[in-house]
Subunit: 394 residues, 2 copies
């Protein structure tokens, strides 16, 4: 038998391992220093009470013959898909329940959706980029091209009409840069996709952090239903990183080569997936209830306040950054022309603050650095004071 030789194209990314190693070495050498981690990409606040109550009720259902649940629908229970449809409606976007597929998370969908596409498609991603888009397609043997983002476009890559792409991954608000597209910018991408018979895979995992008029969904943009699939997650919206639930929206009118992409994805999921755990689906529906949305806002506001603390400090220091406003991520230019690992070392050694070197997310991450707002408020304030003192003293 032959293994999938395309796995040899994958480059091991030791970013987080290297961050952990360096941090550990520093901690061992300086046991007296309190290290503050602002590199965390995972949520830290507990789930909302109404969500846990619904999940526990779901567990209880499995204890009795009358309420027991066996195999779920591949695409998710109706009441969950109706709740998600209602959530879209709350910000003015029409997505019908039967266009929604509930899954164990947006990462699975990001990686598995290419199953329904031919190998011979050119994948466009922005640089810097969430590595899953790249690796999932490298291992399937596809060609990857990059749209550059940087200071010149505020880390919001725009299409180059001279370049022909077939499938485009967009993430807005972006991981890692925190930058969010405007409606006008997304319209340019939709028009590019329509002109090129391309498809946009739109990762909206951070949409719940948007507080200005940036689109919460690509389906608020005219024409998107003919050229886009949207992926979303409860991981950041409601703290589901360890609970595992996401959803993908495929409009019924999305047809390519005479094939309904909705029907193809249904067939893929029916063959290679068996639906989401009953208690988790109960929890997901509770998130999108009125009371659920009220309760999750508490956590979102907590992280937003941290992001504000960091942004305010960078404004005060005159450091260029994106994100922070519509995103839990703050992407900053390393001061004084430092490289991203150089700044990592400088910050760790002189302020005992840990962040993430930007070059782990691509070429265009060189010279940049990611901080996140998922820590505690008190530690975020303390870290920011240390950073300010360090930069001002220089």
């Amino acid at each position: 038998m032959k293994v999938n030789e395309y796995f040899d194209r994958l480059v091991p990314n030791y970013l987080f391992a290297d961050v952990a190693r360096k941090t550990g070495e520093f901690a061992a050498a300086h046991p007296e220093k309190e290290i503050i981690r602002l590199g965390i990409g995972d949520v830290t606040l507990p789930l909302a009470p109404i969500v846990v109550a619904a999940m526990k009720k779901g567990c209880e259902d499995l204890l009795y013959q009358e309420t027991f649940k066996g195999y779920p629908e591949y695409e998710g229970y109706d009441f969950v898909r109706e709740a998600i449809s209602g959530y879209y409606k709350s910000f003015g976007v029409t997505v019908l329940p039967d266009e929604i597929f509930v899954s164990d998370g947006a990462k699975s969908d990001c990686g598995n959706l290419p199953d329904i596409f031919a190998q011979d498609n050119t994948i466009l991603v922005t640089d810097p980029v969430y590595p899953v888009y790249v690796d999932a397609n490298l291992m399937a043997g596809r060609k990857i091209i990059y749209a550059s983002s940087g200071k010149e476009n505020h880390f919001l890559a725009m299409p180059d009409k001279s370049v022909k792409a077939d499938i485009i991954y967009l993430c807005s608000p972006n991981n890692p840069t925190g930058a969010a597209y405007s409606a006008e910018q997304l319209k340019v991408w939709v028009d590019y996709a329509l002109e090129n018979d391309a498809l946009i895979l739109y990762d909206a995992a951070y949409e719940a952090f948007i507080k200005d008029d940036s689109p919460r969904s690509i389906f608020s943009v005219e024409g998107a239903r003919e050229c886009a699939i949207e992926l979303c997650s409860l991981s950041k919206t409601a703290g589901f990183t360890g609970t595992r639930c996401g959803y993908t929206v495929i409009p019924k009118e999305l047809v390519r080569d005479g094939h309904s992409l909705h029907a193809m994805w249904y067939r893929r999921q029916a063959t290679k997936f068996n639906g989401v755990s009953w208690p988790v689906q109960c929890a997901a529906a509770a998130v999108f209830s009125d009371e659920g949305l009220r309760q999750i806002r508490h956590n979102l506001d907590y992280y937003r306040r941290n992001a504000q603390v960091i942004s305010d400090a960078l404004d005060e220091l005159g450091i260029y950054y994106t994100g922070g406003k519509n995103s839990p991520y703050i992407w900053l230019e390393c001061p004084n022309g430092m490289g991203s690992w150089e700044f990592f070392d400088y910050l760790l050694e002189n302020a005992a603050v840990v962040g993430t070197p930007g070059e782990g997310f691509g070429e265009n991450g060189k010279g940049y650095f990611r901080l996140t707002s998922f820590g505690s408020y008190e530690k975020t304030v303390e870290a920011v004071e240390r950073i300010k003192a360090l930069i001002n003293q220089r």
Copy 2:
């Protein structure tokens, strides 16, 4: 963009839809008759109390900062993998925790494992067959060949040395036939795989039903660690069809083309999967505790008693069948040379009993019929009485 044209190779299987339609039509025409369904492929008994308690405790953990869980390990928590390793040990098989990957179910793993294999591999499946093995590989463009099973080999297909296969799916005890390989038979498959540099994907989803000395794991067979991956599930073992948890074992010494298949699968899962829900992992570990194993035996024994009721009746009627002994499935030859749909109609119309026509599982299912033991004891007894009366009267 281009869609995956291999999806056109998939043949829609309307088996269960046709069963439901015909049953519905009969029910509408004969409202006075009580229909008994022995076609159910899903469990019906609730989860064990200790499992639900552990799952509820897992939910509770997510409510508090101190016990909250974010992103899980891709391969499952250590305590779950240790519990599974201990379960293997309980029937004399050594599988180390770090050879185990916890997932959302064996169906996902059956379908996704081919990601680590090249397209240019020949897949061997037995006929009749669980359709997922076929469809997952058809949609990836692979060649499928069949090993025939039938009355001549008691529905236990054996390798043909003149045929060259690269990847072999085996399911024992089998879905749909209920037949279980002996250690000697599995050794023949292992030897075939070793001689041909082939790989066995061994689906042990029904191993908990084995009550004779048939192997519970392919790793009880010498040489299997050099040529087999084992997939298993809590769906039938512990009623997890709606709770969703399975596991896959890849020995560390399993190397092909200089690649560790364990390392390749880890990379695949790290890229396209994000682990299993915390409460579900807590529930899974509880299944494999001493008390958990005691409690799940109650349900297994209940289904086994149903299988015995069906088997006894077929013995009495002199009808040829496989399964029933080590499996919740009973696979019987349709009496009097009837076709499988013909027998379906005959049984429905004259006894108001519903089963599954064998031809839905492949060519070799023609003239065969699947009954399952997942119904209630009382209804199973009643159905069997009706079948006996019908066949005897003829």
